[in-house]
């Protein structure tokens, strides 16, 4: 089926998320929508899927104008979507999730689960998925959950398939497999829209590329374009994709973590006997697919996890079992993974957020009263130093873009006298321009002799920033390797394969 979007415009208040977007996707073609986070790609797809109503413009399928009042209509018309955040009910089985919304029933509205199981098995067999229809979705690895999403779309005979940032949660190998599936679907005659901000994937799989910036289609590119060309189209100016850093000057002391175990309330071991050290002046990147214990590891370092055993020594001082306050006072700076929830108070101003961790005494609080002049002076200084683009320090932090929010977090954490800096996913959801800046500051912190731990799920970032890379899988350390390790070896390590085996496998 041929999909055509004509002049789609979607506004949220004053913000124009989509500005007269035209797009044609032919059957048997993978059309890539490339753009930064916040460029308006997901909004466009939600319009296509009937979740949002467009303010202007029309959607055509095989030249017939469609009007969708909800996702049900879009699906009935043959549009299927694999959502960035999976639209699966975690406590349901695979079969229940696949049948939901178009259940086959026996008499009296009784579910025909056998029919649903058969449908799952049939589609699984067709594409070589190994998905058990009776498995409960929350027990499945994310890669398999994504296949359930694909099965869900296919079980409704979708002819137009939209993949919204599908690789964010996958290992490089799973990503390759997904690309294979997308090609197979294309060869079956499906029209595929592939939304991403990752250049490598685009060049690998796309038949056509449309670049979106600030809600507009700013150009088309061919899959043979170079990374630099695509990146400059995406950002609107030339960008540097590499991080310049000198050889590390490593100090004697630093962070030493020994036999760290973090357990969840239900007894799952989230960080499993992890030991490593980071010396002053070096960057250790913790790589791995999202959800393999990196979050819990950083939270344990800062004192946010309740069930921790093992030791965390910073310059010979034990941090395990200390309160967050004590850890911060020991000189630890922390950029949390989810800045909007854990890093900032969205309704507070920039100035308030910048002093949030020092509200217990001078210089910002004297005799129990806030020192507003001191606070504002400090805020103005940091806004200038960290290049936060804002109307003023009184602006609510929640109104800033992702990149500027992250700069506020960074400014706060780096403005103390640090002995250790921990940054979890520092560039997630951040525009390319800000990424450059954040990387420079992280390298500057390392060059100042501070041990730095960075968690990243993006292999490119890991390789660019790291002096050494520690790969985690299922809570365990698969290996700690130099940053010069080949990408495919790192990829296999991210799937849990030990480095010596991985080198053999990738050779």
């Amino acid at each position: 089926m041929r999909l055509e979007l004509r002049g789609i415009t979607k506004r949220f208040g004053a913000l124009v998320a989509n500005d007269h977007i035209d797009l044609v996707v032919e059957p048997g073609e993978i059309h890539c929508l490339l753009g930064e986070n916040g460029a308006g790609k997901s909004t466009l797809m939600n319009v296509l899927y009937g979740l949002y109503t467009a303010d202007e413009g029309e959607i055509l399928l095989d030249d017939a104008v469609q009007s969708f009042s909800g996702p049900g209509d879009a699906m009935a018309a043959g549009i299927g979507m694999v959502h960035q955040h999976f639209m699966l009910v975690p406590v349901f089985t695979v079969a229940e999730n696949v049948m939901l919304g178009h259940e086959q029933v026996k008499g009296g509205g009784v579910l025909d689960l056998d029919a649903a199981r058969a449908r799952v098995r049939e589609i699984s067999a067709r594409f070589g998925f190994h998905v058990d229809p009776d498995a409960v979705v929350e027990d499945l690895p994310v890669g398999v959950q994504q296949r359930v999403e694909i099965i869900k779309a296919l079980s409704r005979d979708a002819d137009v398939l939209v993949f919204d940032e599908p690789t964010a949660v996958l290992t490089p190998q799973e990503t390759d497999e997904l690309m294979g599936i997308m090609r197979q679907l294309r060869d079956d005659g499906a029209a595929i829209v592939f939304i991403t901000h990752k250049l490598r994937e685009v060049r690998e799989v796309a038949d056509k590329i449309s670049v979106v910036r600030l809600g507009k289609i700013v150009g088309e590119a061919s899959p043979t374009a170079t990374d630099a060309e695509l990146a400059s189209l995406m950002v609107g100016r030339a960008v540097s994709l590499t991080v310049h850093k000198d050889a590390p000057v490593v100090a004697e002391t630093g962070l030493t973590v020994d036999n760290l175990v973090v357990t969840s309330e239900t007894g799952a071991v989230l960080v499993d006997d992890v030991s490593f050290d980071v010396r002053g002046g070096e960057v250790l990147v913790v790589a791995g697919v999202q959800g393999n214990g990196q979050t819990e590891l950083t939270e344990a370092l800062i004192g946010l996890q309740p069930n921790v055993t093992g030791s965390i020594l910073l310059d010979g001082k034990e941090l395990a079992g200390r309160s967050v306050r004590e850890v911060l006072d020991a000189g630890v700076g922390f950029v949390p993974e989810d800045r909007t929830h854990d890093g900032l108070v969205g309704e507070f101003t920039i100035a308030e957020n910048l002093m949030l961790d020092r509200a217990d005494g001078p210089p910002f609080v004297r005799k129990g009263a806030l020192q507003l002049a001191e606070r504002d002076r400090f805020a103005r200084e940091k806004v200038a130093e960290f290049d936060v683009r804002t109307q003023g320090i009184e602006a609510a932090v929640g109104r800033l873009s992702g990149g500027n929010q992250q700069k506020v977090v960074l400014a706060r954490e780096l403005s103390r006298d640090l002995r250790l800096f921990v940054a979890a996913q520092p560039t997630r959801g951040v525009d390319v321009g800000s990424i450059e800046f954040i990387h420079k500051r992280i390298v500057a912190t390392r060059d100042a002799g501070v041990p730095v731990v960075v968690v990243s799920t993006e292999l490119d970032e890991a390789v660019a920033l790291a002096d050494r890379i520690m790969v985690m899988y299922r809570g365990r350390v698969v290996g700690i390797v130099p940053a010069t390790t080949p990408r495919d070896v790192l990829g296999l390590m991210m799937a849990g394969i030990l480095p010596q085996d991985a080198e053999g496998g990738a050779a």
Partner: protein
């Protein structure tokens, strides 16, 4: 990318290692309860025999009254409970999960021992049948209320308004039942009244996204105020025509009603009680075996996912909530066309909140919630049976029993329970 094509090295383990959390909760709880019971026996020994009657004079089979020496039985039961506590401790020490029968044995032993102690020396027989059949009767509004709670909470709406639904049902059943002289008409009216309360709850929580707990509490207060006002202004002056109902008669089921103990407890009841057992099964079947139930549970767990597959979240939630109101309203009819034949001010006396506790204790599962309702009903009836026998415990303490059991059950024994993920969160479409 060569990696995907080469022979894959050995597959890594797919799961995180697990450390089973060691919980001493059940062992410690059993130990403490056993110790408390021992203290009771030591401090207030109670000589004499305890007389347990297993049948009533009209029964088909007459079982003679069982007479046991009270203190001997009580101490024997205490030893059994202590063994169970030690057993639970041994299981836990070895890192094993304590099987469910261990606390079960302990609970039964303590209960039996307590009954022997309380009934000791009383000239009256302690009627086991009366204890159990009264328990079933008292649990009727709790079970209906809990089913109503399960239905709405599975769809993602916190139902604090069960109390209001019960009370509205009781009030309407009284008026309609009195006017028509038909308990059936009264019960039907109660169903409609419960649905009306649900409709108001839905209007504010689903359509206008008001906080569900607040609306529920306000609705309870509203129903209490409204029924109390109408009771004193309308029902009391004209009680003969407006507040005198005909009650449902007991209908014995042939043959089954002749089984000793079980017969009079389960098979010689009113139609509302039979309907209650049917309703438990029906709600379970509807929630877990039908298309309707799958969609209700989907909007309670992940409404956005349900929306993206074309399910109308708002309609589904209204639908489940109206059913919930109907079931809870029917439970309210129990007060005025089964138990009594008239309405009294605030006669539900917090049963709706106990039903809410039963929902949580039952982990949002209709069968378990119904069993929890039966347990709470049993605790209520224990109090009245013991006061008939003339137990030495002050009646004020006995009146607390059902509520203490509720608190203990919900706070301590419930274990890990997970409410529907989207419960209490209004669904606002993008």
């Amino acid at each position: 990318m060569t990696a995907a094509t080469v022979e894959a090295p050995k597959a890594p383990e797919a799961e995180n290692r697990r450390i089973a959390p060691v919980s001493w909760k059940s062992a410690v709880t059993l130990g403490v309860v056993t110790a408390l019971f021992a203290v009771l026996l030591l401090v207030a020994p109670h000589a004499g025999d305890a007389r347990f009657a297993l049948s009533t004079s009209g029964d088909f089979f007459i079982i003679p009254v069982i007479v046991v020496p009270a203190m001997g039985t009580a101490w024997g039961c205490l030893v059994l409970a202590a063994l169970a506590a030690v057993g639970a401790g041994l299981f836990t020490a070895r890192g094993l999960r304590t099987p469910a029968w261990v606390p079960g044995v302990a609970a039964f032993a303590i209960l039996l021992g307590f009954l022997s102690w309380a009934a000791a020396g009383s000239p009256r027989d302690l009627s086991i049948v009366g204890l159990l059949s009264g328990a079933v009767l008292l649990s009727v509004p709790l079970v209906y209320g809990a089913l109503g709670g399960v239905l709405s909470e599975r769809a993602g709406i916190v139902n604090i308004a069960i109390e209001g639904q019960l009370l509205a049902g009781a009030f309407t059943a009284a008026i309609v039942g009195s006017l028509t002289d038909s308990p059936y008409a009264g019960a039907l009216a109660a169903v409609l009244a419960g649905m009306l309360v649900s409709l108001v709850l839905g209007l504010f929580t689903i359509t206008y996204h008001v906080n569900q707990v607040i609306v529920g509490v306000v609705l309870n207060v509203l129903v209490i105020g409204l029924t109390s006002f109408l009771y004193s202004q309308v029902l009391v002056p004209d009680a003969a025509t407006l507040n005198t109902t005909t009650r449902f008669p007991r209908v014995g089921i042939p043959l089954l009603e002749n089984i000793p103990v079980i017969g009079p407890v389960l098979f010689d009841q009113t139609i509302i009680v039979y309907l209650m057992f049917v309703a438990v099964g029906l709600v379970w079947f509807a929630l877990f075996r039908t298309r309707w139930g799958l969609r209700v549970r989907a909007v309670g767990e992940h409404p956005l996912a349900a929306d993206t597959v074309g399910i109308d979240v708002v309609r589904t939630r209204y639908n489940a909530l109206l059913w919930a109101g109907a079931v809870a309203g029917l439970g309210g009819a129990f007060y005025t066309v089964v138990s009594l034949s008239q309405f009294n001010r605030e006669m539900t006396a917090g049963a709706g909140f106990i039903a809410l506790a039963a929902v949580i204790f039952g982990k949002w599962h209709p069968v378990r919630a119904a069993l929890a309702g039966l347990l709470f009903g049993f605790a209520s009836n224990l109090q009245s049976v013991l006061s008939v026998v003339g137990s030495p415990v002050p009646s004020q303490f006995m009146l607390m029993v059902p509520y203490v059991v509720t608190i203990l059950a919900v706070a301590g024994l419930v274990g890990r329970s997970r409410p529907p993920a989207a419960e209490g969160i209004p669904y606002v479409k993008g």
